[in-house]
């Protein structure tokens, strides 16, 4: 210890003791009866809800139609998030000129999206590859194996589940007009985002290459754009929203490739050979306020009389509908899905264009005193307000309930991706694709032989929560993942496995094939960078003989 530190040690210990004493003596008012009642109500609700299942488990378990809706929900969520940033117009920066030109001339774009999100309590994340080809062709490949193709001119969407060889073709009729949340506007929205930038972020490594960063910041959020210094190509875009009710705190776009030849077959609405095909219609025409009312009424009825915590797009709503629809016939199931989709459409469009706000969390259906949603009308002097009894009134802006400020409203269970957080993806021999995200280094991934003859258990534990499912797969391996924040996972797999380790911001750290029992990986800060704000991460492989080597980026 240095002399300077030793001089500080005694007064600092005293200060810590003083601080402990001060906190212990902080006077706390008694808990209000309202809080106590809310706690009991939430506990009752939680005790009646179905057991927590991981997001990808839920989506994997969905029927193809609902997988498609989940994917579409994500699409609208992303569209909304990107659109929020499109309004950030500032002075064009010279350094962006090349990037802007690239995007303005692009006829195709492919990219990978990472979207840290959560189930009710457990942080997980989704990753998908998105291909866009003008005019209006979109293909989304979710890492859980579901593929969604959207053909805007044909007004059709196709969902494919390769594992089951099932396909569902949705005839959408028409996509809603107005607002920037339409999927067809996504490329345009990204272009618009790049119109404004101010602050230089300096240099950092993205995918091992030097990149120069720029940032646009507004009250509604911020966008970071990182440009490869050598090639001038886009290396990464990170969009962080701070608006209330935004479904995804951050979206990270990576592996951005412009103008690559994308064959039309990738966007074909004809299912591959051997797939069963189910067709149905889904009304995605311009939504009206009656759609919001009908959707909320349904969500309250399946939520024990309480409105949902959130109406923002995402798989959570879909999962609730999926659970509630169990045991119902196909027609009823379709009607429920339709109501949910139209509610999401209304919210997505009004959130962008008319400052839609939702405050239904904890409100009971029938409570005429509580406003649960409101949005701007006409010139903005009046708002349409929906109350808990599902009646609508027009109120002046000054009569609106106070809205929560956005930054504080992002709950801990939905952390945005931070620098240095890691995601581990495992693809096994049987094609199972599992991932655990938002891990904090040092992360240890161990591959062990599964000696049990009983069905393997897949479980994850994080932030005091626990989720478990019994796998039916033949598992000869168990992949154990641990991080220092006590996030753990136990994933059964059929070996050998491929493991890909991503840093949310620095890109793919390692991609290793044919790994079998006895091998372990450790993701840790590079020596000397651990205490910095952006620690550089390395991946170390320990083989079955106990020999270790650095495998970061193909070393």
């Amino acid at each position: 210890m240095t002399e300077k530190n030793s001089n500080h040690r005694e007064p600092m210990d005293q200060l810590i003791e003083q601080a402990i004493d001060s906190i212990r003596r902080t006077p706390a008012p008694p808990m209000q009866p309202g809080v106590q009642a809310a706690v009991v109500a939430k506990m009752r609700l939680a005790s009646r809800q179905p057991r927590l299942v991981l997001l990808y488990e839920r989506i994997r378990a969905m029927k193809p139609r609902n997988k498609l809706v989940a994917a579409a929900s994500f699409l609208f969520a992303i569209g909304a998030t990107v659109a929020l940033l499109a309004v950030m117009m500032a002075r064009p920066a010279v350094a962006f000129a090349d990037v802007k030109a690239q995007l303005q001339q692009a006829k195709t774009i492919q990219m990978t999206m990472s979207m840290p999100t959560s189930t009710a309590t457990v942080p997980v994340d989704m990753r998908m590859k998105m291909l866009i080809k003008e005019p209006g062709l979109i293909r989304i490949e979710m890492d859980i194996g579901v593929v969604t193709i959207i053909d805007i001119p044909a007004k059709k969407m196709l969902a494919l589940e390769p594992a089951k060889k099932e396909a569902v073709l949705l005839d959408v009729g028409q996509f809603p007009a107005g607002g920037n949340t339409q999927p067809q506007n996504m490329l345009e929205n990204i272009r618009k985002c790049l119109d404004g930038s101010e602050q230089a972020l300096g240099e950092r490594k993205i995918d091992g290459k030097s990149a120069e960063g720029f940032c646009v910041k507004k009250d509604s959020g911020e966008m970071e754009v990182w440009v490869d210094k050598a090639s001038g190509n886009l290396a990464m875009i990170k969009i962080t929203s701070r608006l209330p009710g935004t479904p995804l705190p951050s979206v990270i776009l990576r592996d951005i490739v412009l103008n690559q030849e994308l064959p039309d077959s990738l966007f074909s609405l004809k299912p591959p050979e051997g797939y069963s095909l189910k067709q149905q219609a889904l009304n995605m025409s311009q939504p009206v306020e009656a759609d919001l009312v009908a959707g909320l009424a349904m969500m309250a009825s399946i939520g024990d009389g309480q409105f949902p915590d959130s109406v923002t797009p995402g798989p959570e709503l879909g999962s609730k509908v999926e659970q509630a629809a169990k045991g119902k016939n196909e027609q009823e199931h379709q009607a429920m899905t339709q109501k949910m989709v139209r509610m999401i459409l209304f919210v997505s469009i009004q959130a962008k264009t008319n400052r839609f706000q939702y405050a239904g969390k904890g409100v009971k259906l029938g409570d005429a005193a509580k406003p649960i949603a409101w949005w701007r009308q006409g010139d903005g002097s009046t708002y349409r307000v929906l109350f808990g009894d599902l009646n609508l009134k027009d109120l002046l802006a000054s009569e609106l309930p106070a809205t929560a400020t956005a930054p504080a409203s992002v709950p801990c269970s939905m952390p945005a991706a931070e620098p240095g957080l890691v995601r581990v993806q495992i693809i096994d021999k049987a094609g199972n694709n599992m991932s655990v995200g938002l891990l904090r280094p040092e992360v240890v991934v161990r591959i062990e032989k599964n000696t049990s003859t009983r069905p393997a258990e897949l479980w994850t534990k994080g932030m005091g929560q626990f989720s478990k499912a019994t796998s039916k797969m033949v598992a000869d391996l168990i992949i154990r993942i641990d991080d220092p924040r006590e996030q753990r996972a136990n994933l059964p797999a059929s070996g050998p496995v491929k493991i890909v380790v991503y840093d949310y911001e620095a890109g793919t750290l390692a991609s290793l094939d044919n790994l079998s029992a006895g091998v372990s990986l450790t993701v840790k800060p590079k020596a000397g960078t651990g205490e910095t704000a952006n620690p550089e991460l390395v991946v170390e492989l320990r083989d079955a003989e106990g020999k270790t080597r650095d495998v970061t980026r193909g070393k």
């Binding site: 106590q36 504080a408 006590e486």
Partner: protein, 173 residues
């Protein structure tokens, strides 16, 4: 089926007091208590709860620290945190202000610790749990708890020294 009203009636006030002390304001404490009890329900659905107070202390502390970390990430919000005055018949306003200041400094420093260290430290010094009780709550050995607390204290010294230097220079957090 558990009687949730009874669980809240028996343990709610203790969780409230503990989380309020760590967070220093009512809105955050209210959110924290609700999240804590909901988390406890979920834990109870997977495994029988041997001790509600122990489970709630652990979950409440983890949730409160989670909120503290969230505050650090959102510095604007951090500036708006209400710091309650310390009730003491003897100290004058200057002493009370200083006590509130050091308490807030510790909260900020705790938010920057690795989670397990922060939880172990808080359970030991703010909740008066023994090493054995903390070990049981966190599923660790007593020795491991000792190491965690030692590391936490060392790191807190460093963090508070840095914060002290910044304060004296007039820099913001």
């Amino acid at each position: 089926m558990e009687d949730w009203s009874k669980v809240v009636a028996e343990h709610g006030e203790a969780v409230w007091q503990a989380t309020f002390r760590l967070l220093g304001n009512e809105p955050d404490a209210s959110d924290c208590v609700q999240e804590t009890f909901v988390a406890a329900v979920k834990v109870s659905r997977h495994e029988p709860v041997r001790s509600w107070p122990a489970l709630l202390r652990r979950l409440g502390t983890m949730q409160a620290l989670c909120i503290l970390r969230q505050r650090v990430r959102q510095r604007k919000h951090l500036e708006a945190i209400e710091v309650p005055e310390i009730q003491d018949p003897a100290p004058g306003p200057a002493d009370r202000a200083q006590a509130a200041e050091v308490a807030e400094a510790l909260r900020k420093a705790l938010a920057r610790l690795p989670e397990q260290q922060a939880v172990a430290f808080s359970l030991r010094f703010l909740e008066d749990l023994s090493y054995e009780q903390i070990a049981e709550a966190l599923g660790l050995s007593s020795n491991a708890v000792g190491v965690l607390i030692h590391r936490a204290r060392t790191r807190l010294r460093q963090l508070m020294t840095v914060m002290d230097v910044l304060e004296s220079r007039g820099d913001h957090d």
